[in-house]
Amino acid sequence: MSDTQEIIEIKFADHRGYVPIGSSVIREDALAKVTGQAEYSGDISRPGMLHGKVLMSPFPHALVKHIDTSKAARMQGVHAVLTAKDIPGENVFGIAIADQQVLADKKVRFVGEPVALVAAEDPFIAAEAVRSIKVEYEPLQGVFDPLAGIKEDAPRVQEQGNILLHTKVRKGDYLKGFADADVVVENVYRTHGQDHVPLEPEGGIAWIENDGVLTIYSSSQYVFRDRKQVARVLNLPVNRVRSVNTTVGGGFGRKDDVTVEILVSLLASATLKPVRLVYNRHESMMTQTHRHPTITRVRTGATKEGKLTSMEGVVYGDTGPYSSLGIFVIKKMALHLGGPYYFPNYKCDSISVYTNNPIAGAFRGFGIFQSAIVHEQQMDELAAKLGIDPLEFRLKNCLREGLSFSTGQVMNEACGIAATLERLKEYMAEHSLRFSRNMEVV
C-alpha cells in the first residue's frame, strides 16, 4: 500500500464527470444513433445468408384444405418452403397463453396469418416463390364484432368458445350507490384500433452456431421469453437457443411477444444457413398486434354536492383470433374503468372476445388508454350536470392516501393524482385559461 497517502489526499475536484441522479446526461446510445452506426435487425447479415418471406392468409376465417408448395420448392435459389407440417415441435406460441399457431394448420383465423414460409437466396426470388404457392381455402363465416361474437350461435373462432376472459370487479353495493346519487350519467363509448407503427418493422436473423446453438438476433422487448417460445416450436432444449436483442427501432408493446423469431429459426434450422426476415411495412401491419378496439357501456352517479357514489360498467374488447396480451389488456380495463377517482361502490365487467379481426395485444397504454377515454368523458359530463368546474370536480373525487381503488387496495403516500391536477390548476392560472368560454369566435 505504497500510495495510501496519495489516495486519501485526492481532492474533490479530481473526480471528473459526477452527475447526480436527476441530471439530463446525454443518452449513452446517442452517438451510435446519430452517426448511423447503431445496428438494427435488418442491418445484420452473415455470409451465405438467405432471405425469408411469409405467405399470408387472404381470408379472415377459412379452412385450409390443401397447400401445394411444389412449384416454389423447385425454383432456383429457393432453399426451403415450410408449412405447418414441417414444424419439429409444437406449432404454437403466445405471450400470455399459447393459443396462436406459428403457421396455419387446418384453419386460418385472420387476414395476414402466416400460412407458409420461404427461404431463398434473394428477396425477389423469395417473393416470387411465395406467390407461386397454391393454397386451397374453404371460407367460413367469421366474427367481426365482439358483440356478435358472444352470441350463442356465433361462429367459433377458437374451439373452446369466443370469450377469452371475463373479469369482474365488485366493490361495495353499487345499487345502493346509485340510490344515493342525485345525478347519473350513462353512455356508450366505442374506441378504434391503432397500429403501433414502430419506425423499424419487425425483423431478425437466425443461424446455427458451430456448437449447435440456434442463435437469433432480433428486434425484441424480451429475449428470454423469445428463446423459450422458439425452443418449444423447434423442439430444442431452452439452453440450446440463444436470443440476442439488436438495437430496437421502437416497440410500444408491438415487440413484446415474438414477432419473426420463430419464423427465422424454422428456416435456419431447415436450411442450416443464416436466414434473415424483415417485414415490410404492409406485412408488419397485417401480421402483428394492434390496440384493442373496445365497446363500453357505463353509468356513473354522484351526489348534488359532487361526490361520486357509484359506477357500473361493461367493456367488450375485440382481441382478434388469438390472445396475445388481450387477456390482460382487457382485464386491466375492468379495474381502471373508474379512473383515478374514489368510488365507494363499483361494479365493472370486462370481456375479452375472440374475433376474426386483426390481432390486438399490448400497446402503450394497455387498456388504460381506452379506459381513460371513458372515465374522463364521464367526469366532464357529470361536472357539467352538477355545474361544477371539471378540474375542481376531479380534485374533489380523486384518490388520495387512505382512499381505496376499485380493487379495495388502499392508496399510500405515493398517490400523486391530486398533485398532477393541482399542477394543471396552477398552469391554467399562469396562462389565464378557463373552461367553457361558450363558442368564443376566434
Binding site: 439530463s24 446525454i26 443518452r27 446510445d29 446517442a30 452517438l31 451510435a32 444513433k33 446519430v34 452517426t35 448511423g36 452506426q37 447503431a38 445496428e39 438494427y40 435488418g42 442491418d43 435459389g77 437466396e121 434473394d122 425477389f124 426470388i125 403501433h196 407503427v197 414502430p198 419506425l199 423499424e200 418493422p201 438495437t247 430496437v248 427501432g249 421502437g250 410500444f252 415490410n280 411495412r281
Partner: protein
C-alpha cells in the same frame, strides 16, 4: 444479388469518395447503398416513400432513396449519414441531436438528420415553420418531434 435486370456500371461519388463498380441494376438506390456498399445507416421504414427514413442527399438535394432508381445516381454525388460526420468529427446537427434529446429509438434519426442537413445547407437561419416543413416528410414515432426541431435550431445557431 440475383436479379433479372442487367448489371450496370455504378460510377458515382459517395460520401466524397469516387467509386466505380458493376452491380445488378433495376433496384432502388436504398438497396444499392445497403446491399452493395454496406452503408447500413440509411434505413427502410416503409419502402413506399412515406416515412423518410431512407432520406439521402443526391447532389445536395434530399431524396427518398427507396423511391429513387439506383441508375439515377450514376455520375452524381450521394451523401448518406455515414458521410455527414463521424465520431470525433460530428456535424453540428448530429451534436445538437444528442444534446437536445432528439434521439430515442434512433431508426428515423439518419433520415431526419439528412433532411435537417439539407435544410441547413439551403438556409443558414431557418425559422420554426421552415424547420417543420423541412422535416415534415420524416416520420418519428418516439420523440414527438419537438426536440428534433430544437436540435435543428441549435445547430443553425452554431453554424452561423
Amino acid at each position: 444479388m440475383i436479379n433479372n435486370q442487367k448489371d450496370v456500371l455504378m460510377d458515382l461519388v459517395i460520401n466524397n469518395k469516387h467509386i466505380s463498380i458493376r452491380a445488378g441494376g433495376g433496384r432502388c438506390l436504398l438497396d444499392f447503398l445497403r446491399e452493395d456498399l454496406s452503408l447500413m445507416g440509411t434505413k427502410e421504414g416503409c419502402g413506399e416513400g412515406e416515412c423518410g427514413s431512407c432520406t439521402v442527399l443526391l447532389d445536395g438535394k434530399a431524396v427518398l432513396s427507396c423511391m429513387t432508381p439506383m441508375e439515377r445516381a450514376i455520375g452524381r454525388e450521394v451523401t448518406t449519414i455515414e458521410g455527414v460526420g463521424r465520431p470525433g468529427n460530428l456535424h453540428p446537427l448530429q451534436q445538437a441531436m444528442m444534446e437536445e434529446g432528439g434521439v430515442q429509438c434512433g431508426f428515423c434519426t439518419p433520415g431526419m438528420i439528412m433532411s435537417g442537413v439539407e435544410l441547413l445547407n439551403r438556409k443558414s437561419n431557418p425559422n420554426r415553420d421552415e424547420i417543420v416543413e423541412g422535416i415534415s416528410g420524416n416520420l418519428c414515432r418516439c420523440t414527438g418531434y419537438r426536440k428534433i426541431i430544437t436540435a435543428i435550431e441549435r445547430a443553425a445557431e452554431k453554424m452561423s
